[in-house]
C-alpha cells in the first residue's frame, strides 16, 4: 500500500478505481450468504441467480427469500421487496447529476444504482472521478456478487461463515468511511446523519427489516427544508 502525504487539514479522498474494486470484492463475497439463504428458503439456484443478476440489490433480495421461507403471501412479499428498493430511487436523484447517463448507458447504469456504488461515487472530489468510481465499484461488485450467489446456492456456504472473517462489518465500516468527509465538512450533514441514525434505530424493532432505513430519509427532507433556499452546495 502506497504511503502518501495529504494536506494536514484535508480528509483523504477515496481513490476511485482501487477503492471501488476493493469495496466491490469485499461486499460481493457476501453474495455467498444470499445464495445459501435463498436456497435454504426454498428458492431454486436459478431463482437465486436471477435475483442477483436482475434485481441486484441485497435488501430486496433477502426480503423476498425471507417471505418464501416463511411461506407468506408472495404478492405482499413481492410488493415489500420492491418497496425496499425505493432507496435506490433516492440515490439516483443525486447520481444523475454526477453520472449524466444518456441513452443505453442510462439503462445499464441504472442496474448499478445501489448503496455501495452511491457511497463510493459521492465520496469522489469531482464528477470525472465519480464516474470512474461508479464503474469500478459496479463492475467488481456485480461480478463478485453474482459469482458468490451461484457459489452460495451450490453449497459453498459450508466453507465458513462470512462473520468469522468479519465481513459483516465491511458494509458499515465502508459507509461510515465514505460519508466521513461530508460529516466533517458540514454541520447540517452531521445533524441529518444523527437524526437518520436515531430514526432508524428507534424504529428497528417495530418496523419490518429495511423500512427503518428508508424512513430515515425524512431526516434529509427535514434538513433540506431547514436549509437556506438560495444555498447551492458544491458538486
Amino acid at each position: 500500500m502506497s504511503v502518501q502525504t495529504a494536506a494536514p487539514e484535508q480528509v483523504r479522498a477515496a481513490r476511485p478505481v482501487r477503492d471501488g474494486i476493493g469495496l466491490g470484492l469485499a461486499v460481493g463475497i457476501s453474495g455467498i450468504a444470499f445464495g445459501a439463504a435463498a436456497v435454504g428458503s426454498g428458492l431454486t439456484a436459478w431463482q437465486a441467480c436471477a435475483l442477483s443478476l436482475l434485481a441486484f440489490t441485497g435488501a430486496s433480495q433477502f426480503a423476498l427469500a425471507g417471505v418464501v421461507a416463511a411461506g407468506g403471501s408472495l404478492l405482499a412479499g413481492t410488493a415489500g421487496a420492491i418497496m425496499l428498493g425505493s432507496r435506490n430511487t433516492l440515490y439516483g436523484l443525486r447520481l444523475a447529476e454526477v453520472l449524466r447517463p444518456r441513452g443505453p448507458g442510462r439503462l445499464l447504469a441504472a442496474l448499478g444504482v445501489i448503496d455501495e456504488t452511491t457511497a463510493m461515487t459521492l465520496a469522489q472530489p469531482d464528477p470525472a472521478a465519480g464516474r470512474k468510481a461508479f464503474s469500478a465499484t459496479f463492475c467488481t461488485l456485480y461480478l463478485t456478487w453474482n459469482l458468490a450467489t451461484l457459489a452460495g446456492a451450490l453449497g459453498a456456504g459450508h466453507v465458513g461463515s462470512p462473520q468469522s472473517f468479519g465481513l459483516d462489518v465491511v458494509g458499515p465500516a465502508a459507509f461510515v468511511a465514505l460519508i466521513y468527509p461530508r460529516l466533517r465538512a458540514g454541520r447540517m450533514e452531521r445533524a441529518v446523519a444523527l437524526a437518520a441514525v436515531t430514526v432508524a434505530l428507534a424504529t428497528s424493532s417495530v418496523l419490518p427489516s429495511g423500512v427503518p432505513v428508508i424512513l430515515s430519509s425524512l431526516a434529509a427532507l427535514g434538513g433540506a427544508l431547514a436549509s437556506p433556499a438560495a444555498k447551492v452546495g458544491p458538486g
Partner: protein, 105 residues
Amino acid sequence: MTATWIAVLATAAGCYALKLAGLTVPPRLLARPRVRRFAELVPVALLAALAAVQSATNGHSIDLDPARLAGLGAALAALVLRAPFLLVVLVAAATAAALRAAGVA
C-alpha cells in the same frame, strides 16, 4: 411458470424500475435549490442509517454484537488517524474476525 418465478421476476423488474426512475428525473426538477439539497443530503442520511442498522441490530431488534461494534470502533479510529479507505475497511473486518476467533461473542 411457477408463482415463485413470477415473484422473482416481478421483484427484479420493480427494483430495476425504481433504480431507473431516480436516474431519469428531469434536470429541471433538480435545479430547484430545496430538491437539490434533499438529493445531496439523502445519501448521507440513508448510508448513516444503514451503517447503524447493520452494526447495532439484527434486522428485527437492537443487537449489540461486541465483535461487530469493536470492528466499527476500530474503523472510526483508523478514520480519525486518516488511514486510506481500504485500510479502514480491513482494520474493521480484522478486528471483528480476531475477536470472534478469540471467543468474544
